[in-house]
């Protein structure tokens, strides 16, 4: 099954937009993807026909809303190969999911004296919650290094794991596109007695995900990078582990009983879902999962490898040494994310010139300042691909580079 991109493009209403005579060329899906009609319709339909608070009312639409919310959970579980929906916790986004683990597991379950192992290529979302834990509890943090090709240095993994209680690494770098060998890291971590959390915000939207194959204990991702709405994310966890972790936020839904002298928590996953949850967003996420499953995640990955292969060779061909692309050179080792510098043109200026032709790329540090320092650059430009991108979009990017060179050549 291969992806029919021309037909996929028609599924995304925003791509019909005209920007001062230019079509919208959206190359920033690593920041947030666009939404297909099916997701927008599902959310509208929910609000127009079904909305009520979940797990509370006994009337028909409250029952239906609860069913829709829980059905979305079951769809997500199937999508990531989770054995049951009980391990799927809805959060605000991947960032909140990681914060949940840092607060709950990090403060209550991490054995005293045990370290947390991260990497130099992490997004701030998988750094700051742990820096906060270190400030508060003095927990030792260690970092896997990144080599010049943008790969994790794992030669010394066993020694670095000695004394580690939790490993938290990204499955795919949002800057370099590097796909990390999570199964290998998880095996070694488990042998060392550590629990493994994976930041899968960049990987779940782009390839088949199977938590059993990854071998992780916990996994975080966001709906809005996978054709779903903003405002909802997922923490998946092994059920026994989630059960052992204390609640994170307190309020309605997450309790079984509240007395004036105390409270008892609800079962998982509701134990971690305080307050009225993002119900319409869950419905939207469920529709996004259906949409992506309809395309086929193998086909999605195949398309992105092909487009990345094309982009790497075409851009190198046309721009030669003017263009420096970071990350692994082999397209099979990376996702569809190209971070680059172009001549002396600052990423902000490059992005501005591209914007004038309707081309959206990201410019800046990509919420990964430690990695920027490792790469020795203050900022990069980043183009990222998804199901609706094709070779014409890469062409538009290339044309924009030439236009920027004309304007800013020194």
């Amino acid at each position: 099954m291969t992806l029919d991109v021309a037909s996929v493009k028609k599924d995304f209403p925003i791509l019909e937009r005209d920007l001062a005579g230019h079509r919208l060329v959206f190359l920033d899906s690593a920041a947030s993807s666009q939404k297909p009609r099916a997701v927008l319709d599902a959310m509208d339909h929910y609000y127009e026909t079904t909305h009520a608070n979940v797990h509370r009312g006994v009337y028909t639409i409250a029952e239906e809303a609860t069913q829709a919310y829980e059905a979305a959970r079951a769809r997500v579980a199937r999508f990531i190969g989770a054995p049951s929906a009980r391990g799927v916790v809805f959060t605000k986004n991947a960032t909140e999911a990681i914060n949940l683990v840092a607060h709950s597991y990090g403060r209550a379950c991490l054995p005293p004296g045990k370290a947390v192992l991260l990497s130099e290529m992490e997004h701030h979302a998988n750094l700051v919650p742990w820096l906060m834990l270190r400030e508060e509890r003095g927990v030792e943090l260690r970092f896997l290094a990144v080599d010049d090709d943008g790969r994790l240095v794992l030669d010394d993994l066993d020694r670095q794991l000695d004394g580690v209680g939790l490993v938290s690494v990204t499955a795919m770098s949002n800057v370099l596109g590097t796909l990390n060998p999570i199964a290998r890291i998880a095996d070694a971590a488990h042998a060392a007695g550590a629990v493994v959390l994976v930041d899968a915000a960049q990987s779940v939207p782009h390839a088949v995900t199977d938590v059993a194959e990854l071998g992780c204990d916990l996994m975080a991702f966001s709906a809005h990078k996978m054709c779903g709405p903003t405002g909802i994310g997922v923490l998946w966890g092994r059920e026994e582990l989630l059960e052992s972790m204390p609640a994170f936020l307190g309020g309605g839904e997450m309790i079984r009983d509240v007395r004036l002298d105390g409270w008892t928590p609800n079962e998982i996953p509701w134990k971690f879902e305080a307050g009225t949850p993002p119900i319409a967003e869950a419905v939207g996420l469920g529709a996004a999962v259906d949409y992506l499953s309809g395309l086929g995640m193998e086909a999605v990955r195949e398309h992105e490898v092909a487009l990345t292969t094309h982009a790497l060779s075409m851009l190198a061909d046309r721009h030669g040494d003017d263009l420096r692309i970071f990350g692994p050179p082999d397209p099979h080792d990376r996702g569809g994310v190209l971070s680059f510098t172009y001549r002396d043109v600052h990423p902000h200026d490059l992005s501005q010139v591209l914007d004038s032709a309707g081309v959206c790329i990201r410019a800046g540090h990509h919420c990964a300042r430690p990695l920027m320092r490792r790469l020795g650059v203050p900022a990069t430009s980043r183009a990222s691909f998804y199901v609706y991108n094709d070779e014409a979009d890469v062409e538009a990017l290339s044309d924009g580079l030439f236009a920027a060179a004309d304007l800013f050549s020194i």
Partner: protein
């Protein structure tokens, strides 16, 4: 939608390609102040030599960043050299007013009251070449790039003020 030519005026590109007063000064006597824009990684390092009369005797710029932050810094150095602290602060205020049309955060000025209208140029302050940067306000994300060096210069004067013996 504002066009690129509103932003990248020729004079701005000229200052970007051939920045004025680039380099550093011995500290002391010069003050060294760093400014940083965490959004884009732009960095400006100013060396400001303030003489006994409170004038900007010399000023140099180091650091790196986009065409807007670098050209704004370059044009600023050319504009303030030889000016007194009071004149310089007037110019900083006038420049920030020119940029402030979209510079509203969550501080309660975005509700149609206060300074939410277009800012008229201060007739008392001659903006000269700096007028070329006025187009930046049409690109709200870039306003912080344009104001970075100006905020940094204000800090240099604040430092100099702290060092001055009380009279």
């Amino acid at each position: 939608m504002a066009g690129l030519e509103d932003l990248y005026r020729e004079i701005i590109l000229d200052h970007y390609r051939s920045p004025r007063n680039r380099g550093d000064l011995p500290t002391p006597p010069a003050y060294r102040v760093e400014g940083f824009n965490p959004l884009c990684g732009d960095e400006v390092v100013l060396y400001v030599d303030i003489d006994d009369a409170g004038r900007v005797a010399d000023i140099k710029v180091d650091g790196q960043g986009c065409s807007i932050s670098q050209s704004s810094a370059s044009m600023m150095t050319a504009a303030v050299k030889g000016r007194t602290e009071a004149e310089t602060r007037d110019l900083i205020r006038a420049f920030k007013a020119m940029m402030s049309i979209h510079e509203r955060g969550l501080d309660g000025n975005g509700d149609g009251h206060g300074d939410s209208g277009p800012v008229a140029p201060d007739p008392a302050v001659d903006m000269g070449e700096l007028e070329a940067l006025r187009g930046v306000v049409k690109f709200p994300v870039r306003i912080k790039c344009a104001t970075l060096s100006w905020n940094t210069l204000a800090e240099a004067f604040d430092q100099a003020g702290l060092d001055r013996p009380a009279e």
